[in-house]
């Protein structure tokens, strides 16, 4: 039933803006994740959240 329905202006605008916002935010968080992993690797030599050479 849904497939035969006409795409309304509001719905297209809603999908369009959601896709743009979700897309850019997901990209942002993925990049943050990657740079954090890189930073931790630089700091500790490997990604290890709990083994801290400053302490041990």
């Amino acid at each position: 039933m849904n497939n035969e329905k006409k795409w309304s202006d509001q719905e297209i605008a809603a999908i369009g803006s959601s896709v743009v916002i979700v897309g850019s935010l997901v990209l942002y968080w993925v990049l943050q994740f990657e740079s954090t992993i890189e930073l931790l690797e630089l700091a500790y030599g490997s990604v290890n959240l709990f083994n801290n050479p400053l302490v041990f």
Binding site: T36, L39, L40, A43, Y44, L49, F50, N51, N52, L54, V55, F56
Partner: protein, 190 residues
């Protein structure tokens, strides 16, 4: 006496390797802290929606007890996360936290808030049904909701004060504050 014991306990925690790792790790403390703060949206967020419903400020068309019942689970998930991350934060900086006046008042408010929640729940169960569709809950529940809102606002505010150093042991010589904050050494030096 109890202040000495708490301080001893704090020193013991501070000496733990995991406590030191939590503070010295690159982001570990920040992540725990950020989780603690962001989970406010789940725990206190759900709780405030319930409280505001009782006062008639939100979702007045939804049966009040149903809303309270349905939001109970997400709220409790939130509070469990708050409790775990909060305990980790104390564990990471035990001496500062246990000797913080704000932290101590916060804990008292937390106890009061939980007693209030318990009374509120009992009253809600006892007053079952008739008022459910009213935009505003009966007076007893409304009072409970307002007390809950105020107590939790206090808890958040005091939580925010903890990192500030206005009344840290080294920054005050008022004996009452020193005693209330458990500043054993400073109190003995007076």
């Amino acid at each position: 006496m109890i202040n000495e014991m708490l301080l001893q306990f704090a020193h013991w925690m501070e000496a733990q390797p995991y406590s030191q790792m939590l503070v010295a790790g690159y982001f570990s403390y920040n992540w725990v802290e950020a989780t603690h703060v962001l989970t406010l949206m789940l725990s206190i967020g759900s709780l405030f929606v319930i409280d505001l419903r009782m006062i008639g400020l939100i979702l007045t068309e939804v049966p009040a007890s149903k809303l309270a019942e349905r939001l109970h689970k997400p709220m409790m998930i939130g509070f469990v996360i708050m409790f775990i991350t909060g305990a980790l934060l104390v564990y990471a900086k035990p001496v500062e936290t246990i000797q913080s006046l704000w932290f101590r008042i916060k804990m008292i408010l937390l106890v009061l808030a939980f007693i209030n929640a318990w009374v509120f729940n009992a009253r809600m169960k006892a007053a079952d049904g008739t008022w459910d569709m009213d935009p505003v809950a009966p007076k007893a529940l409304r009072t409970g909701a307002i007390i809950s809102l105020l107590l939790w606002c206090g808890v958040v505010t005091l939580g925010r004060y903890i990192p500030y150093d206005w009344v840290d042991c080294v920054n005050t010589d008022n004996p009452t504050i020193l005693w209330a904050a458990g500043c054993v050494d400073q109190l003995n030096a007076l």
